[in-house]
Symmetry: C2
Subunit: 196 residues, 2 copies
Amino acid sequence: MEKLKQMIIDEGYVIEPDILKVDKFINHQMDIALFKEMGVHFKKHFNKQKVDRILTIEASGIGIASLVSLSFDMVPVVFAKKQQSAITGHTFYSSNVYSYTKKVNSTIIVDTRFIQEGENILIIDDFLANGQAALGLIDICRQAKANVVGVGIAIEKGFQEGRKHINEAGVDVYSLAIVDSFLDGKVVFKENNEEL
Amino acid sequence: MEKLKQMIIDEGYVIEPDILKVDKFINHQMDIALFKEMGVHFKKHFNKQKVDRILTIEASGIGIASLVSLSFDMVPVVFAKKQQSAITGHTFYSSNVYSYTKKVNSTIIVDTRFIQEGENILIIDDFLANGQAALGLIDICRQAKANVVGVGIAIEKGFQEGRKHINEAGVDVYSLAIVDSFLDGKVVFKENNEEL
């Protein structure tokens, strides 16, 4: 997706060896027109199966997933929570997610009412690095006996293992921009056969 | 807003004396069509000033604010963070927010790049109870010397003090549904002069 790549070049910046900050348009301030256009690209790719729900994870996946839903007939968007807010009497699917950045294990949960057996679920997130969050969401879908249509990502760090792990789990990954490396603080994108 | 009230009646449920759960359509699973329609109502009310940015707070304000932006020419949406994610070299406005539910003080932050002096900021959130989160966001706007257009809320607990405190701060509050009381676990709405 050329517009996203151009915004990463113009507005993104690199801190430490491999942290790309896109807080100006993705995960602190959000560019709503950009998110809406992401939905058009995801729809173009994930067009073989009807999507019943979109699943993401708080907090920075929520904005993108909400706008992407507009391209999928406004299906409900469910966001996995990092902690249970209050006793509700309901049951939850949960999965453990290890954060390489923060070096901690955390548990993500989704109320069992919001993913049903046999449904087609599209997973959307802002970043893919080691793939732990996406694998946790796939795990939750499989606990629910739902079908994962695929994982749609805004920015993938192509030099990390996320795509490999998700493909090994038998799930398709589609990323709108794939960062191949950081060269002197500049972003180098990976070329892709499919129009991004 | 009749559709929201009807969904609260049909899909909401009350736990403990005064906790209204709307996790089926607002803050765990999100009804995207509903959020989009909220934007139309907010635009009808907050129509006197041009809105430059929408400000909300993670996590459950993000989905609503993202869809509401569609009714305000897709202005950028900024979400206040509950903790700083990584050293960025940037400066932040911060404000202390006391949670009556959790009985803890927390700090919310917004990068100084994302609210500029003289801008018109519309604050959006899912719930208004004691108003602490909204007051924290107003405080941050005033640190930035920005103008607060108003506070737009999906569901207000009319029996708590939030509206009073925000009005005392000189800011207009507009809520799409105002809960007056819970009677035997059923929601009683407050009548409002303005069409909700």
